[in-house]
């Protein structure tokens, strides 16, 4: 189970890293007259045994019906133009493995490129929130006294806030239209701000117990300073807990990005992310006819499943909740 989860996550991360080589088309290239096109069908062998595709021609713009042009014959091109596989995008026969979106862009390529922003944001936010949580919790548990109660009160307060509303409010007070990189930093800051207190509370409780244990007392007697004691001796004791928390935060943050982008408060449409791509699925009338617009949902599901599978085998209940 654990290996399956790790393999799943590994494949996704690898695909995200290799997006420029794997994606058949640039993520923002628009193919005229292929809006809402269905996935390109790959036909097995031609007379020379090569897999090939046919060009798509639109039959009815009103009904968005497409038909394959059987006279055209476009063999797949491997390892050309610096990508793994593509068809003939310049002559109206692009390789659209998951169809085209409402703007005629290649959904599969956008999915690959979109994984970068989504995963990077989720992973970075998890890292930052865990680090801040570990530091604050460690300092609070170690120092005690007034500093401890100040830090603890603060984290308790943030924990009881309705996180989704705070995220919404913090995002919405900024100008609604911002460039992708600004959004990235903004969401990173909001997620880290809301994520650290849960971590800090647990770390504080662990450090509070650990600092009275013999090894900590011995280290102190041997002359270890507060910083060294905290970082080298006490925080490692919270390692398992930190890993657990990180595995809860990562799916929550990925989901938060998707939610924000889905409702139109996240990344702009020109930055492909899984959340912005999910917007295509918000049109109920179209959703029934274009199941492939749910592809980013499947991608999010696979990440969450991968994390849950990795956590499952450690014997902990797979509770993943956000407030």
């Amino acid at each position: 189970m654990r290996i399956a989860g790790a393999v799943l996550l590994g494949i996704i991360v690898l695909a995200a890293c290799a997006a420029p080589w794997l994606a058949p088309n640039p993520p923002n290239r628009r193919f005229a007259d292929l809006l809402y096109a269905p996935p390109t069908r790959i036909h097995a062998g031609d007379d020379m045994g090569r897999p090939h595709v046919h060009a798509l021609r639109i039959v009815s713009r009103l009904e968005r019906r497409f038909a394959e042009d059987a006279t055209s014959h476009v063999p797949l091109r491997w390892f050309s133009d610096g990508v793994l596989v593509t068809a003939d995008p310049d002559n109206g026969a692009p390789l659209l493995l998951l169809g085209a979106d409402p703007y005629g862009r290649d959904r599969f390529s956008r999915l690959l490129y979109g994984s970068r922003a989504t995963l990077a944001l989720g992973a970075l936010a998890t890292l930052v929130a865990t680090l801040i949580g570990a530091l604050v919790g460690g300092v609070a548990g170690y120092a005690g006294g007034r500093l401890d109660s100040l830090l603890s009160r603060t984290s308790e307060f943030v924990v009881v806030l309705p996180a989704i509303y705070v995220t919404l409010a913090l995002r919405a007070v900024m100008p609604l239209v911002l460039p992708g990189s600004t959004i990235f930093l903004l969401l990173l800051a909001i997620f880290a701000l809301l994520g650290w207190p849960m971590v800090a509370r647990g770390v504080r409780a662990i450090v509070l117990v650990e600092r009275e244990r013999e090894y900590a007392v011995a280290a102190r007697a041997a002359g270890a300073g507060a910083t060294r004691l905290l970082i080298r001796h006490l925080l490692p004791a919270a390692g398992g807990y930190l890993r657990t928390q990180a595995s809860l935060l990562l799916p929550a943050f990925i989901l938060a990005e998707s939610t924000m982008s889905y409702v139109g408060l996240g990344f702009p449409d020109t930055t492909p992310t899984w959340g912005t791509m999910l917007q295509d699925a918000s049109n109920v009338a179209m959703l029934g006819d274009t199941p492939w617009s749910l592809a980013p949902a499947a991608a999010i599901f696979m990440v969450v499943l991968g994390v849950n599978l990795m956590v499952q085998s450690t014997g902990r209940a797979p509770v993943q909740l956000e407030r």
């Binding site: 307060f157 309705p162 993943q320």
Partner: protein, 322 residues
Amino acid sequence: MARFLLRRVSFALVLLVCTSSAALFLTRLAPGDVTSQLGPFAPRAEVDATRARFDLDRTPVVQWGRWVFRAVRLDFGDSFLYNRPVGPLVVRAAGNTAVLAVAALIISTVLGIGLGIFTGSRRAGWMPACVRGVSIFFVSVPPLLMSLILVFIAARTRWLPTTGMLSPGVVDPSWPAWMADVAWHLVLPALALALPIAAVFERLQSQSMSEAVGQPFLLAAIARGVPASDLVWRHAWRVSIRPICGVYGLVIGSLLSGSFIVEFVTAWPGIGRLMYEALRARDIYLVSACAAAGAAFLAFGTLLGDLLLAAADPRVREELDA
């Protein structure tokens, strides 16, 4: 117990004031205000009159003071978007969210605990294995994805309405017809919200059940001749319910965030949608009231969770009284 309740309620009140005030300041300091809704051709005088009506011509602190002064008398200001007092608006939306959340909570509790006891008490066989597999799957399908998938299925098959709370075109229906219509529209959002939580409950219950089944007191009960169904449902279950009660407060909290996106996807007219609309329009008092409602919802949920835990675990009860 009374002291505990008093402490919690007063803390919740402080939280309410803090969140709604923070929401007010945030919205006020954000670029743009409600007058942008008047359009670019609005005459200067009308813009100024609108600003004056919503206290936007005063400093934020004075505006906040006047708002607090009115709020004490239960006047929470007017909504610009809807051009009426925010109180009834928010109460209505919060009611809709509560209906959705309670329905989801009931479905997930019954489904999750029932199935969890089933899979936890018998390990062999293909049925428990199936349930277990399905719930591992569902744990990884959060409400955002679940609602999209259900909407897709409903749009394809036309089994269920996908949007809104009432069928369009029905004018002034009778009470039973209205109830039936709402319930019919409730099925999809409630399921979208409930299924992931049911899966979490199933996993937790199953785990603690299988632990409880292995304990000596159950062996003793078997030796006394307690029938098998009583063994599971009365003896083991009472012990195994504790972990569920422990996460119940968290779950009620997560219902709020889950319901936001479900409301958005299925156009359920709840508090999350209202907050979103208000934020985008910079409808300042509506934002504050929605934030307060959200905080109240959360505070109530965690309180309920703690009380449940206290009911299930005598040790927690002592802690609360202390």
